[in-house]
Amino acid sequence: MNSPNASGWKPEMTRAEGSAPATVTGNRALMLEEPLLFEIGQAGVTGVDLPPVDAAAACRLGAMKRAGIIDLPGLSEPETVRHYTRLSRQNYGIDMGLFPLGSCTMKHNPRLNEKVARMAGFADLHPLQPQDTVRGALEVINQLAFWLLELTGMHGVAMTPKAGAHGELCGILCIRAALEARGDAREVVLVPESAHGTNPATAAFAGYRVENIPANSAGRVDLAALKARLGPDVAAVMITNPNTCGLFERDMMAISDAVHAAGAFVYCDGANFNAIVGKVRPGDLGVDAMHINLHKTFSTPHGGGGPGSGPVVLSEALSPFGPLPFTARDRDGVVHLVEEESADEFGHTQAFGRMAAFHGQMGMFTRALAYILSHGADGLKQVAEDAVLNANYVLRSLEDVLDAPFAASGPCMHEALLGDAGFGGGLSTLDLAKSLIDEGYHPMTMYFPLVVHGAMLIEPTETESKAGLDQFIVAMRGLAARAKAGDESMKHAPYHAPRRRLDETLAARKPVLCWEPGRSDL
């Protein structure tokens, strides 16, 4: 048994003398309360030195000229640095500790990648510069595309999608374009119950009707039920593999064969590609389209909600329909940006259109390429192996104290799925997760996938050490014991975070989405 920490403190030790009095300010040492910008900034203040406005200067703005200034407070530079530094300290990040959000792949973000992305030769380029002035940048896109194709065994790749869900849309639009090109109007996209919410939302956005396919008792797609539903109205099946229960779809090849035999396409949600990179190639499993979250598998930082990047790899059947623009090498090895007017020249005449202005998330491409080159083919394989080993280690270290619905079906992939069956005193997953905050961890993904009661999806990733996982396991086992015993105090956790539980019902019932002066209705 590991000790809970190395400070000399033990849970059974008595408290130091005296309980904490309330502070005068509400601050607690390093934890400082920070007002809103609008409460500290002033309209006349600016932290940027610029010449004052010359009212007599020439004006070619026409009738839309603004009278007066926008009502926006400003801060000097020191106040600005302090405001955002204080805010940052109310956040948990991977840099601080384990961030085991299942499906989100919160792995270490290497700082080399930040450095590379900021090189002026990448960061300070305009997307519409003449191509001869940006060959190195186009080369980056093309080299990354090459790696993505090699690692997935696919035929083509669309680099422009801006995040995973945008990539899903790209893949589904390719499928729709391919079906339309053969005069085959189909209406339905099949999605497993355990799918990410983006899957059905994407299919609906692309004009399809969404139907669920059930899972079997081993947490995988029910192949027989899928086969029974396939027919001439089904355009595609969207499968996540490894799936959101953290399990590999054992029947993947049979699923692909059945889908293809029915004239439909296989879309794979690649959110969990990090579990299999270098171990198996989706192209060898019959996948027709798969997005890759560069901000998951290839470590570009999540940034508190993006930016992401979601390139989509495509099979030979779908590649002709990929969106513009993209990069391609000519016979002399020079990389070109293929846009609307040069598409014919590069034999790409059936593009379904354009998904976004410009050419994709360059700032993410440079980071992802640096990450891939750092690992190489051998390192990427090790990434998948260590990610899977870490998840299984957590699963097998917790399955005796927490409900582990699929543990008996064999090893998991990169994430361990647990449930809250057996908790006492009306406690649930939420209470355990909030208690985990007090222990210094970011909680796991809660209540997803929907197929498990009180789901807790734990994805440690490969960048956690064994010692770090052992500490986490100690914390989890302790909390599991308290939850089973119905420890009432867990219902009010967290106690030590910058905020106690927040009233989400109030936020939704009386939405306050914008600051207004003098409002005090809360």
Binding site: A43, V45, P51, C59, R60, K65, R66, I70, D71, L72, G74, T80, Q90, N91, I94, D95, M96, L101, V116, A120, H126, L128, P130, G136, A201, F205, A206, M253, I276, G278, G304, G305, G306, G308, S309, E340, E341, G353, M355, A357, F358, A370, L373, H375, A377, V388, N392, Y393, I437, K466, H492, A497, P498, R500, R501, L502, L506, A507, L513, L522
Partner: protein
């Protein structure tokens, strides 16, 4: 490998704990026929930090960066000076390495920042509510069109000819799959936007009119007139802004009657980055439309002790709750770019925005006058902010190429933006910001004169 903490001893101990003889036992479910035996052949193996940095630096050196040449490109992406503190602050690990704030008790930094960002965007745009960001301006534009379809239940979308053609292309691409009918046109090369022509295209089936402000040629349309005409037909006005700095000098679209205001926020804090990641801004003038909005919304609330705090809210609009009935499929958006934007805007404040806009406009006026003196060159715009269109009397693409050979990044030819449109081929779109020096303008003018001879 420097990013992988497990040692071989660890791995052996962990395999023993999980009851596996080898790592491949854990990949038992992967069909054997598809399993790879070793690292994929023909690909490089792992490399040290220095080697990777060298490789990337070599590729970076093959590019002509904007800061190393007289630079005049805009067309939806603008080069402004970004205060050094912006990049310092966004690299704090607590911001950089956090996830979407699903656990608000330990994400108040991101959430308060988003609440402040939403308020800043709403004020900038003259709107009631802004969301927590979209991917970029072009996708925000499409999402606005989709949202209007839900509100009006109409299917005809009127695009101004002077909407950025990439934005129009995104709308057209998506409309194919939602049965929206798109009415668009090429812009006429004239000094003022063709408001009458645009208004004439609005009919009783029109769901919305999409107008860029300032438009893709740099002209500044009278949005109030278009808003009134659209509303008279029961249609909504979507205003698109690709240069937020302009709003320091011209009136906010919401104040002029635009119902939804979307735009690209890249100009503040984000940088050029060869086209991405950028920052989609999205706001509605009337809060009654908030439940039809796409994307994340951050709202104020209180915690169990009564302290003010912030949470993501109204998520019953979103994909993770509503699935196929969601208002959008967007999940990850542009959080860190929103942070950069909000820090830059906090440094500027309203006063700094007015000064920055004035400086941009002063230099743009100087450049327009100087360049229009080049023989054969004329200025198209009657109105402009920091970007204007020159007519060169010859194919502008060729001119741009020749100037690039002289290390002058001369602007964006309309031929690049509107391939195949002969009527626009001699147009050159020139952007000038506070980063442009008078010396750069002189260099550009002399080089242009030489090239046009």
């Amino acid at each position: 490998m420097r990013y992988l903490p497990l040692t071989d001893t660890d791995r052996r101990a962990m395999l023993a704990k999980v009851g596996a003889a080898s790592i491949d036992d854990l990949f038992f479910d992967v069909p054997e026929a598809a399993r790879l035996a070793g690292p994929i052949e023909g690909l490089p193996l792992h490399a040290g930090e220095m080697a990777v940095e060298r490789h990337m630096a070599k590729l970076a050196a093959k590019n002509l960066s904007a800061g190393s040449a007289p630079f005049f490109l805009g067309a939806g992406a603008y080069r402004h000076h970004i205060p050094a503190s912006v990049d310092h602050l966004i690299q704090r690990g607590e911001f950089l390495t956090a996830y979407t704030p699903y656990q608000p008790e330990i994400a108040q930094g991101t959430l308060q920042m988003l609440f402040e960002f939403q308020t800043q965007v709403a004020r900038l745009y003259g709107c009631a509510v802004a969301n927590a960001s979209m991917y970029d301006g072009s996708t925000a534009c499409w999402e606005a069109v989709a949202m209007v379809g839900r509100i009006t239940r109409r299917k005809r979308v009127v695009l101004s000819g002077a909407l950025h053609p990439h934005y129009a292309a995104v709308v057209r691409t998506m409309a194919k799959f939602t049965d929206d009918r798109i009415a668009d046109a090429l812009p006429a090369l004239q000094g003022e936007p063709d408001n009458d022509g645009l208004i004439a295209r609005i009919d009783d089936d029109t769901s919305c009119v999409v107008v860029q402000y300032p438009d893709v040629l740099g002209r500044i349309p009278d949005l109030a007139e278009i808003a009134e005409a659209a509303h008279a037909k029961g249609a909504l006005l979507i205003a698109v802004n690709t240069e937020p700095v302009a709003l320091g000098a011209i009136r906010s679209p919401g104040d002029l009657g635009a119902d939804i205001v979307v735009g690209e926020g890249q100009a503040l804090g984000v940088g050029l980055q060869f086209g991405g990641p950028y920052l989609g801004l999205f706001a509605v003038r009337d809060a009654k439309h908030v439940r039809q909005m796409p994307g994340r919304l951050c709202g104020e609330t209180v915690d169990a002790e009564g302290k003010r705090g912030f949470v993501l809210t109204l998520s019953t609009r979103e994909q993770h709750i509503r699935r196929e009935k969601a208002t959008s499929n967007i999940c990850t958006n542009a959080g860190l770019c929103a942070l950069a934007f909000t820090i830059h805007l906090t440094l500027l404040g309203g006063t700094g925005m007015a000064r920055l806009a004035a400086e941009n406009h002063r230099l743009a006026c100087f450049a327009a006058d100087r360049l229009a003196k080049v023989p054969g060159v004329s200025l198209l715009n009657a109105s402009f902010f920091n970007e204007f269109t020159l007519k060169l009397g010859t194919d502008a693409r060729e001119v741009v190429r020749k100037l690039a050979d002289r290390d002058v990044l001369a602007g964006v030819s309309l031929g690049r933006l509107f391939p195949g449109a002969q009527s626009l081929a001699d147009g050159l779109l020139v952007a000038v910001t506070e980063t442009t020096s008078e010396e750069d303008i002189e260099t550009f003018a002399s080089a242009l004169e030489e090239v046009l001879v």
